[in-house]
Amino acid sequence: MDKQEEEGLGRKHNTSKREISDQGPGRRKNFGPYVVTFFILFGVWVVLSGKFDPFHLSLGVISCAIVAYLSADLLRPSMRGLLILLVRWVPYLLWLMKEIFKANLHVTYLVFHPRMMDLIDPKIVKFRSKLEGDLALVTFANSITLTPGTITVNVSPDGDFKVHAIDKASGEPLPGEMEARIAKIFGESDG
């Protein structure tokens, strides 16, 4: 999860920077994204290969350099994006893990309950989210799906959510605290 999010954040940050620098004359090429992409890829290479002899390391350097050259434009990570990731995403992920755990216990309780058919009350919950950015909406939708008891059925680009909730207790807290926290991450908390 971390990787995709950091790439997204990096792209968001970088496009805004590029828009500014586009207006100025003589825009110079920025090598930051290439370097960051290279080191992320090389870290994954070392973990997956596990061999530290010069032959395998040089193979890794060559292929990571080629892939970084081809895809840095696509991913556009930056050092500031990584810092934002650490400061804003890690607390959110910890909170999400706690919610996932609580909600998992609830669904397990339902599964093993002898009168389960009386307890569950599946419903499609519809609501409109205040979030605006695409990435914020996707994060919100995936977080809803990860929390047991609720599955996102459909999201429109305007933020109309359709959520399948297994019982009343699962569907009621939506959009609620999760939306507020995501709004804070993406800096949309005022509207």
Partner: protein, 110 residues
């Protein structure tokens, strides 16, 4: 290292508990959509706990190779957390597009 063994056992058995819950839930819940709740997500937490237990158990005799193997095991968890909600969403979306109405309270189970 005895404490480590206890931690690994607790993690492993709670993981198995959630995985069992997922399997039982698929059999007990009344319809397509509600079955996806245990199928897609109890598995996610179950495998997180079980994989963490494997990674810790693997570090019993600490070495660089063991550390790398543990990191790979944790990578499995990362990919499950990415793929599982996406797949669940895809299956639900397919159901909605095919026009299957969700089960509501009072109907017979399907």
């Amino acid at each position: 290292m005895d404490i480590m063994n206890i931690i690994v056992c607790v993690l492993l058995f709670s993981g198995l508990f959630f995985l069992t819950g997922g399997a039982v839930g698929i059999l007990r819940f009344p319809d397509f959509y509600s079955r996806l709740h245990p199928a897609g997500k109890l598995d996610t937490l179950g495998s997180l706990l079980a994989m963490t237990a494997f990674a810790l158990f693997n570090l019993h005799h600490f070495s660089l190779g063991a550390l790398l193997t543990s990191l790979k095991i944790l990578l499995i968890v990362v990919f499950i957390f990415l793929a599982s909600p996406t797949a669940t969403h895809g299956i639900v979306d397919a159901g909605v597009r095919a026009g299957l109405a969700p089960w509501t309270k009072g109907e017979k189970r399907r």
